[in-house]
Symmetry: C2
Subunit: 452 residues, 2 copies
């Protein structure tokens, strides 16, 4: 019932493929869900996967394709001729999935495939969908839906639904439109089951329908469906006409992707990689931020270089360089990530930016006072230099204040300019705070050593 991919299973499957045992290999996968077969492909090389794929029936082969990771799918489609892609896949997929697949092909290949699509209505729907930004409601929606006229009664409605339903995998809602195709309401299947068949649709439909426009960004679509607990969401055009519907499974993918992207940025990874990717992909995703970190480190070396003389005289000042740099980095990441998460989930509240910074200042002051007091006590007892004791605790307080305000302000600023605020988390914020922290520390040190 539920499939778990193991090394043993995979070894046996590979063995059968290697021995050209197509019947034996097919037996192992025939009862599996397309999502499980896609997971198996992910572990096979392209020839092995193709060996299995040609044995699958049309609908299932198309469904497996949709479940593949994007780069695996692209490699898969690259070698297939346009008419095969059209007949074996595009004709059998829902319009939104078909548009996603076509959107990944080159311009020429896409046009070639489209000329071979037999169902002209499907071809038209796909061309429509390809026009929308893939990160908008238009890019997420499918054209397949059940729409009934508000003036019909339930019997007509059921008859029409039977006709329309043939194309659609699952029905969650029936949408109600007027003669001008404008969305007027929804009808739950429960209502249809419970109401006498002469009732007019208009009188039993739910008029409080939540919808989005084609240009609504995906993130907002996800937030709306999550907030209002919806499994399907109708999409309307600028004239209010019903043009498609988005289902929750597509939105779950959006939520996971968004969360994954933010997580990657805070961890300093620039591409969507997994532990099972190869060493080259993993390196490519990691080196950009490391390079920036390295530049930051060199800048840090330059800053310390300015104070070389002081360090020659008071080498103990070097002891606390890592502490100051690390604390600046930690505090900065905390501040920026709280803001980034609140922006992502629209839970920032209604208070203005000034009030937010003031609150952050309060938090930073409390944290700063506590931690500075601890390090003051430690140094008071374990360090001989009072100047150092004073320098470290004062600098730590200063760094915490600076890093908090900077970490709060930068993501808010980026958001204002419509740049992804998550860019201001992770290595960026640590690097800037490292350098600023060093500067604050050494400057304060020079002053205090001169005074005491």
């Amino acid at each position: 019932m539920k499939f778990e991919l193991t090394k043993e299973y995979l070894d046996e499957l590979r063995e059968r493929i290697a021995h050209d045992d197509d019947r034996g290999a097919y037996k192992m996968i025939e009862d599996l869900h397309p999502a499980d077969i896609a997971e198996i492909y992910d572990e096979l090389n392209i020839e092995e996967a193709r060996f299995l794929h040609i044995m699958l029936s049309g609908e299932k082969a198309a469904d497996v394709l949709i479940e593949l990771e994007q780069d695996d799918r692209e490699r898969f489609l690259e070698v297939l001729p346009g008419d095969v892609i059209a007949k074996q896949f595009i004709d059998k997929l829902d319009s939104d999935d078909a548009a996603d697949v076509l959107g990944e092909l080159s311009d020429e290949k896409r046009e070639e495939v489209l000329t071979y699509v037999e169902n002209l209505e499907q071809a038209g729907d796909i061309v429509d969908l390809l026009n929308y930004d893939e990160n908008s409601a238009g890019g997420l929606m499918a054209k397949e839906l059940i729409a009934v006229n508000e003036n019909w009664n339930i019997t007509t409605c059921l008859k029409e639904m039977r006709r329309q339903a043939a194309d659609i995998n699952e029905i969650y809602y029936v949408y109600v439109i007027d003669d001008a195709q404008k969305l007027k309401g929804t009808l739950s299947l429960k209502k249809l089951l419970l109401t006498p068949s002469t009732a007019k649709i208009k009188d039993i439909m739910n008029q409080d329908v939540i919808s989005v426009k084609t240009e609504t960004p995906s993130e907002e679509v996800a937030n709306i469906m999550d907030k209002y607990d919806l499994v399907a969401l109708p999409v309307i055009d600028p004239l209010g006409r019903l043009v498609g519907r988005i289902t929750i499974d597509d939105v779950v993918d959006v939520i996971r992707e968004e969360a994954g992207k933010d997580y990657q940025l805070v961890s300093g990874i620039t591409e969507n990689v997994e532990a099972s990717d190869n060493a080259f992909q993993l390196t490519r995703a990691r080196i950009p931020w490391l390079f920036i970190g390295l530049l930051g480190g060199i800048l840090g070396a330059v800053v310390i270089g300015v104070y070389e003389e002081d360090l020659g005289i008071y080498p103990e000042m070097a002891f606390f360089i890592p502490l100051i740099a690390a604390m600046g980095g930690n505090v900065g990441v905390q501040s920026s990530s709280i803001i980034v998460q609140s922006l992502a989930y629209r839970s920032l509240g209604v208070e203005g930016i000034g009030k937010k910074l003031l609150k952050e200042l309060a938090v930073a002051s409390i944290n700063g006072l506590i931690l500075s007091a601890i390090i003051f006590t430690y140094n008071f007892f374990f360090t001989e230099s009072f100047a150092l004791t004073l320098t470290v605790s004062t600098a730590l307080f200063g760094v915490i204040i600076f890093a908090s305000i900077f970490g709060t302000f930068v993501p808010l600023l980026l958001e204002k300019f419509k740049i992804d605020p998550a860019l201001a988390t992770g290595p960026f914020i640590t690097t800037v705070n490292d350098i600023m922290g060093l500067f604050i520390y050494l400057m304060i040190g020079r002053t205090f050593y001169a005074m005491f």
Copy 2:
């Protein structure tokens, strides 16, 4: 249609509440969705929220309660007598929501409330649900579902569905059971609409039904629903009997929570906080990891202290302390977060732990060689000491290798011992790598300065 909470709206609402203008205040919220009203409560103080709440009708008041943040809800219920909670909320909620609310109350209060629940079937369902771990399928599921017997025909089935449907908000699937209550299949509403009414359920149901056991962990439930694109998932007991169903909206919350938790850990935050929380909550969530970072910094100071003499003679060695520490931290966070994400999404692949570490070693070597070459070139031209040039580049390479392997190994180890691997991201990994990096750097420095 879609509501956006603004400062102006809130000011006006507060104004009306302050002037005891209950009619005016009610007018502002009466057409809003419960989720929107909950969002408004979040910005009001408890008295203002209660002023609005007593004007809401039963069903709506209960729905708003469910949409509130947990701590707001607890404060809300604290002051209400048990019979009011039972009649106004518990009787009107779905069994899963009712159990969640009751689960948040103290033991005595819960028992008191349960004695007042009028619907005895509901009370029984809730008591059943309270027995399950809240992070398991049993804790997520609701008891309300439509189940039909496999031996019925469609007409009987529809009649029975009409009877059962009265209690249920939405129907996504009809579950098919045998005489012993065992789950045998599902029936899509589409099938019900398209099939002649004399057909037997047994012959038209889908037998490939994916289900989970009551003890399946929430994370796995989320992964299954996501992977197989399900909107509802039946839950069975050890005997295979159908005991409940989980809907996708509850799972979306699980996915967001899990992603949020991992994000917090990598950012060094110990509690679920939002930018709109107060300064005290924000401080409490942030100081624990800062404290650990501070301890790490003190340990770092001790490590450098051991090499104080060397630093007195070669103060330029201090220049690159921040670079080495920062790079160790960055690389460690990258490695650990890739593993943590892959564990969370079950995309770790089938290769063993040894192979993973070997691959990580390859990635670290490539990154290490490139970055060491860059810093070698920089120091060769801009630094006078060849010993320093050699020390920094060698130490950087060593730190990158150590941090990568450590960052990969620790989360895998934690997972083995059933501890949340995400603990090994963020400040923990940076702190350890800071200290180890310093140690490697200063040790190599002493060796090379002695040689050149």
